[in-house]
Amino acid sequence: MRQIFASLWFALHSAGQNFRRNLGVSLAGVFTMGLIIFLVGGSLLFTHSVDTVLQGQEQNASHLKIYLSDNASLAAITNFESRLKTDPRVISVTFETKDQAAHQASQNPDIASALNVLGSNPLPASLNLNVRKLTDLSQFNAEAKATPIVDSTTPTDYNSDVISKLNTVITVIEWVGAIIAIILLTISIVIIMNTIRTAVYSRRTEIEIMKLVGATDWFVRWPFILEGMLGGLLAAIFSGAVVFGAYRLFVQAAQGNLLSVPFDVRYTVTLLIVLLVGGVAVGAFGSFLGVRRFLSA
């Protein structure tokens, strides 16, 4: 028992001391790790934000207005409406009568006066469709056009061209985002390993001496691993704080502009915890690997 505590205390003490005495290299390592954690954390938060915003956009953009011909029977309309409502791809359907359409349009004074002059109401009734996925819009559009009760002159109102472009852009961004995140993570891990390995390399003589004096592998390893964990912790705290600050600034800046990015507290807290744990784990594992090379020699 005493022995275990003594070894533990020794490991902790050496780790702290080594960290301080080798401050230059330690800080370089912490800095590199910190920057990478910042990069990973930042890109995760950014992707998350963009995703949130785009999902909002998609929902906004996924409207389809189906104009109904004036001589469609109410029964046919109700029938069509309920068919759409039961479709799993549809979020909501609302019916807009000719009167409602006129009322809506009359908010523009020019149109109001035009309607007044005209006497009758030329505006068609419509079904306003809100679908889950942007990609389904064109299908609904085609379907609507083929339905007899739909106004044949101006059957639907949606800018298929722009929407499909927006759609592609979103898909590409999400796809590329995922790829970039993976690449970034791989690169980060390799760089951190290299950094720690190089740092440990400059202390291979130390390891060799310890072993020659009779230290077990674990006795040699522990201080290095604890040192790595300390470095990882510092790096994670430092970069976590920066990421958090940057995210808040970003959200605030976005608020003032057209886009409103929600401040996702739960995601942020989870992310910060993941960064902390990840930093400590990578520091520990990196040191473990770094030392291993010189232990087995």
């Binding site: 005493r2 022995q3 275990i4 505590f5 003594a6 070894s7 020794f10 001391q17 080594n18 005495r21 080798n22 130390e206 060799e208 001496i209 310890m210 072993k211 020659l212 004096v213 009779g214 230290a215 077990t216 592998d217 006795f219 087995s296």
Partner: protein, 251 residues
């Protein structure tokens, strides 16, 4: 002379006991092709005090390295306490090495630990949880005359002071076998003599001592077992030898 032999209980040839250290037909060829040891047979018993002498590059340090399994022999077998070192698994090496106190020819001090920490390290490794650590460290450093250098770092010491730290580290855990590779090379004659007296003392208390040295004065005055190596071979092994073969001219 035979009287002197009778007085000392540790003269090697008479032992019936199993030797502490034994070499059987050991050769060492380094990866670069250098033949450092050739067909060495050797037996050292508990409580022996041996000098290892021979010209520069003869193979003295190689012999020490093989003992602690810093290097593995190319052929032959080496036993310590009956255990075959040359076939020992890596996991058992720490335990083997803790039996020894070793002074390396190039000291091998931890540059980023203070003198006291360097010495304490050997104690922590060999006897984890040891009480009165600081006292023991201070005591052994006082013995080698470094009581005022406790908290200095190795590169703040003179060459001889570093060498004495290495000696202190090898002594602190009262090892059963004391190996010293040229431990007085950077010490003035007085200090050297003090160290040799110390080794004679611990040997008197039962520690086996093997000391590689070029110090003719010391070897000739102490008159203990002398193993002479030349070009990798044991060329002489005398119970009460001198630095050179008796009758050879000096200088």
């Amino acid at each position: 002379m035979s009287v002197a032999v009778a007085e000392r209980s540790s003269a090697p040839p008479q032992h019936a006991l199993r030797p502490v250290i034994s070499f059987h037909g050991v050769s060492k060829v380094y990866p670069n092709g250098t033949e450092a040891l050739r067909d060495v047979d050797l037996a050292i018993h508990q409580g022996d005090f041996c000098f290892l002498v021979g010209p520069s590059g003869a193979g003295k340090s190689t012999l020490v390295r093989l003992l602690i399994r810093d290097e593995a022999p190319s052929t032959g077998r080496i036993f310590i306490d009956g255990q075959e070192v040359s076939r020992m698994s890596h996991r058992k090496l720490p335990k083997l090495r803790r039996k020894f106190g070793i002074v390396f020819q190039d000291y091998k001090l931890l540059t980023r630990r203070t003198v006291a920490q360097n010495v304490a390290f050997a104690l922590q490794v060999t006897r984890p949880g040891q009480r009165h650590l600081r006292e023991k460290v201070e005591e052994v450093l006082w013995i080698v005359g470094l009581e005022d250098k406790l908290d200095k770092f190795p590169d703040e010491l003179s060459g001889g002071e570093q060498q004495r730290v290495a000696i202190a580290r090898a002594l602190v855990h009262r090892p059963r076998i004391f190996l010293a590779d040229e431990p007085t090379g950077n010490l003035d004659p007085d200090t050297s003599w003090g160290i040799v007296q110390l080794l004679l003392q611990i040997n008197h208390r039962g520690t086996t001592v093997l000391m590689a040295t070029h110090n003719r004065e010391v070897v000739d005055l102490v008159r203990r077992r002398v193993i002479a190596i030349d070009n990798g071979r044991v060329v002489r092994d005398e119970a009460e030898g001198s630095y050179l073969r008796e009758g050879t001219a000096t200088l």
